[in-house]
């Protein structure tokens, strides 16, 4: 039987239907910061259901790390913040009904930029920061009350001032990374309905249990009174994490007494979730022989109007910032900062691309200053087996040098460095977390897997099915993997941070052992990885194991137009053990291509708080025409055989490898994306220096 994805039989959340269902549309604020002073629903056609502030007054606030969000905003804090919603018999009728609802606003001062937002006296997006008590607020949050900083994370390791005193050369530069948009091909879509006081939500989500917890909190229900069923997603890349549209659909369904479906129009996707724009300052010092002596790094993550998972993103941006190097003295300050932009949250790479860009560019600048080969400088300082990271944790199963050597070899670095660049990264995996799975035997020799791992195209169903078949000693077609349903599957932290094949794979091994030891009918397996960091010192265990990769790029620059072309791109990624080779290759290639978009052109452009390019024409994503002339990658396997997730690892090294390749031509770039305008400016700067 041919895969349903090629025959047109694949179904996603947006295809959900229910008897008597209504279609929803959200009414959104046109202002970045305002107060709603009046709502006039008198012109809304009869038969439509309107959700107004009074309909949600009994509902609780939400937010997985900081409880800062309401189902409808009486004081919208970004353009696109939902202020009301409607439901009607068709999507078109709902669109017309939403347009006939009139809202009066009183504008308030807005802060559109992360560095303005941290200035004393900046307008406050939120007056106070209330910590969430959900499972996603698992680390020590450090909101700075009375400011726009909703989380501050620090690493303090060694004596940084002393370290810089020992340095022969010091680089101190500030780098900027633009906001990017996930642009999953399928928009956010969900269907909500109530039955006898129970809420059922079917949706495309990576985080069914976090969503259940949030919905239960909002509607004042026991978590067991909420059922979340995950539909396969037409892409997510972090966009479909935590609560997005589901509470509005559920509140409309409650009022209507009928099922309500909500599918976001394309332009509203950009008002719903983007990637954190960031400013990263890196100060890095080394002795004359290249030995690193100290690093001081500041990260400012712009989380927009609501924190969402921004504190976690800022923390990971911070703890991955020093990179896979031995640096005896390290200080990191990472800030998650509110602005009046649409919320920013999880995005493939989870903050680590932003700090990786800055650090890997700084390493090349330092090599230049010391007159050293950037490859040799990196190899001299890379972490080796058993080394201690700046968090205090020992590093094991270490393959950074191997990855970097492979990348260098692939682009012919040692033959001729001109037009070529390298980068090497580490990336954390969700720590702490839990995963559990049940395996049930059928009477016909088949097995059913009950687990919460969500499918968004990353191939988790296939990989876990293959693992199960191998462990059970059956063909993969004897294993079934139904859609995750919180009524049925055991708890799992979430399908994020490239953790599922590793964590669920280990839970599966335990479940199969349990099944075999107990009569072969049913087995249950659960695993947890422990750890966490002290938020004020950054000491502890940041990651059970680290994702490791390097990239090499070769570029061509048209000095007339500033056009930057990537001729050759190679990544070497440590996989530990490859479970599903085509799937692993697809994840690597997809990560590289998404990295290419972030490197060259993807940028959410804001003016007065408005997204000015909320469509796939003005916000370009990579097409076949944007691929490098030659793009290759390799998956390195290790003797330990421990599976390493591959969902994101090949993304963060791509932009700095390209940036460093451009730098080898004398063109120093500090900001992403590397648009022709920025390349042209770098050409002018270089010419200026020469003159």
């Amino acid at each position: 039987m041919t895969d349903p994805r090629v025959t047109g039989r694949a179904r996603y959340a947006e295809d959900l239907e229910a008897e008597g269902m209504l279609h929803a549309r959200i009414v959104r604020s046109p202002y970045p910061h305002a107060r709603v002073t009046g709502l006039d629903a008198s012109q809304v056609p009869e038969g439509c259901v309107v959700l107004l502030p009074e309909d949600v007054r009994d509902l609780g606030r939400y937010g997985v790390q900081i409880r800062d969000q309401s189902v409808l905003a009486g004081r919208p804090r970004h353009v696109g913040d939902p202020v009301a919603a409607v439901a009607a018999g068709s999507a078109r009728a709902a669109e017309e009904a939403a347009a006939s609802l009139f809202v009066d606003y009183e504008e308030l001062p807005a802060v559109p930029d992360v560095l303005q937002a941290v200035q004393p006296g900046a307008p406050l997006v939120h007056e106070g920061h209330e910590l969430a008590s959900t499972g996603a607020a698992y680390f020590g949050l450090r909101p700075q009350q009375g400011t726009n900083v909703c989380h501050r994370f620090r690493i303090r390791d060694g004596d940084v001032a002393g370290g810089f005193e020992q340095a022969e050369a010091v680089v101190d530069e500030t780098f900027r990374v633009a906001g990017a948009h996930h642009a999953a091909m399928e928009p956010h879509a969900c269907l909500a309905r109530w039955e006898q006081g129970r809420l059922e939500v079917q949706t495309g989500t990576q985080t069914p249990f976090n969503l259940r917890e949030e919905l239960a909190g909002i509607f004042g229900l026991e978590p067991e009174r909420v059922r979340v069923v995950c539909r396969p997603m037409g892409g997510s890349f972090g966009a479909k994490t935590f609560l997005r549209t589901e509470a509005i659909a559920a509140a409309l369904a409650r009022k209507a007494g009928r099922p309500v479906k909500l599918v976001l129009p394309r332009d509203e996707e950009w008002q719903t979730l983007n990637r954190h724009p960031a400013v990263v300052r890196v100060k890095l010092g080394a002795r004359a022989d290249g030995t690193f002596t100290a690093a001081q790094i500041e990260c400012y993550a712009d989380t927009g109007a609501y924190a969402d998972s921004g504190p976690g993103v800022a923390q990971k941006m911070g703890f991955a910032a020093p990179g896979p190097y031995r640096i005896p003295n390290v200080a990191v300050d990472a800030y998650c900062v509110y602005t009046n932009l649409p919320p920013n949250g999880a995005f493939r790479g989870y903050g680590q691309m932003q700090s990786t860009w800055a650090r890997e560019r700084a390493v090349d600048l330092l090599a230049d200053r010391l007159g050293l080969d950037p490859l040799e400088l990196r190899l001299k300082n890379l972490l080796r087996e058993g080394d201690r990271y700046c968090t205090g944790e020992p590093m094991h199963d270490v393959h950074y040098a191997e990855c970097l050597e492979r990348a260098a070899e692939a682009i012919g670095w040692r033959d001729d460095r001109r037009g070529k660049g390298l980068s090497v990264i580490l990336k954390g995996m969700q720590t702490p977390s839990r995963a559990a799975i049940a395996v049930e035997a059928g009477d016909d020799g088949t097995y059913v897997l009950r687990c919460a791992t969500a499918e968004m195209g990353q191939g988790a169903i296939h990989a876990i099915t293959l693992l199960a078949a191998e462990l059970l000693g059956v063909e993969p077609d004897r294993v079934r993997f139904p859609a995750p349903d919180t009524d049925v599957v055991p708890f799992d932290t979430r399908t994020t941070s490239s953790r599922s094949t590793y964590m669920m794979g280990r839970a599966l091994e335990a479940a199969v052992r349990d099944l075999q030891a107990n009569g072969g009918r049913r087995g249950f397996g659960e695993v947890a990885n422990a750890g966490g960091l002290d938020p004020d010192t950054g000491q502890g265990v940041a990651s059970t194991h680290w994702h490791q990769a390097a990239a090499g790029a070769e570029v061509r620059v048209d000095e007339e137009t500033g056009k930057l072309e990537v001729v050759r791109l190679h990544t070497a990624v440590y996989a530990g053990r490859v479970v599903n080779r085509p799937g692993a290759e697809l994840q690597n290639e997809g990560s590289m291509i998404m990295g290419l978009g972030s490197a060259l052109f993807e940028e959410v452009v804001f003016r007065d708080g408005q997204v000015v390019n909320p469509n796939l024409s003005d916000y370009a994503i990579p097409s076949f025409a944007d691929l490098p002339e030659r793009m290759t990658h390799e998956l390195l396997e290790g003797e330990s055989g421990e599976i390493h997730g591959l969902g994101e690892t090949a993304l963060p090294p791509v932009p700095p490898a390209i940036g460093n390749a451009v730098a080898s031509l004398g063109l120093e770039l500090f900001d992403l994306p590397m648009t022709p305008e920025r390349v042209t400016e770098a050409i002018e700067r270089r010419v200026g220096v020469k003159a």
């Binding site: 025959t7 091909m185 037409g234 290639e589 025409a625 793009m631």
Partner: protein, 154 residues
Amino acid sequence: MNLRFRLNGEAVEVEARTDEMLHDVLNRLGCVSVRETCGIGVCGACTVLLEGEAVSGCLLLAPLAEGREVTTVEGLGGDDPVQTAFAEVHAFQCGYCTPGMVLAAARLLEENPSPAEEEIRLGLAGNLCRCGSYVKIVEAVRLAARRKEGAWTS
């Protein structure tokens, strides 16, 4: 208006608004693989074949299909060389763009039965895959081309 055309080889008759786009009508007729994604004709997820030509269903007014032949991926039958090559090579991740990609590739091979890699990249540049499965899609199209050619020469 009452709209009549041939869909995947069968005559259909359907009520449609004159300002409706073809993908909406096709969705109503059960061909949900025709996905409106960008809504402005740049992503190719709503690609259908109109008289054998690849067009964007989100830009084509439904009445323009009157009396003509429309093919969606549901009409390829599942054993088209392009479909089987995509499945074998795993030339997709989430699969959302795949129906449009398969149709665009089928049309490309009609026009150019043995395209070079560069010609495949250019020919499919109007179909976006956010998962970034492009490398394997090129591989699948080359495999389909070899198989189609084989059918003529063996």
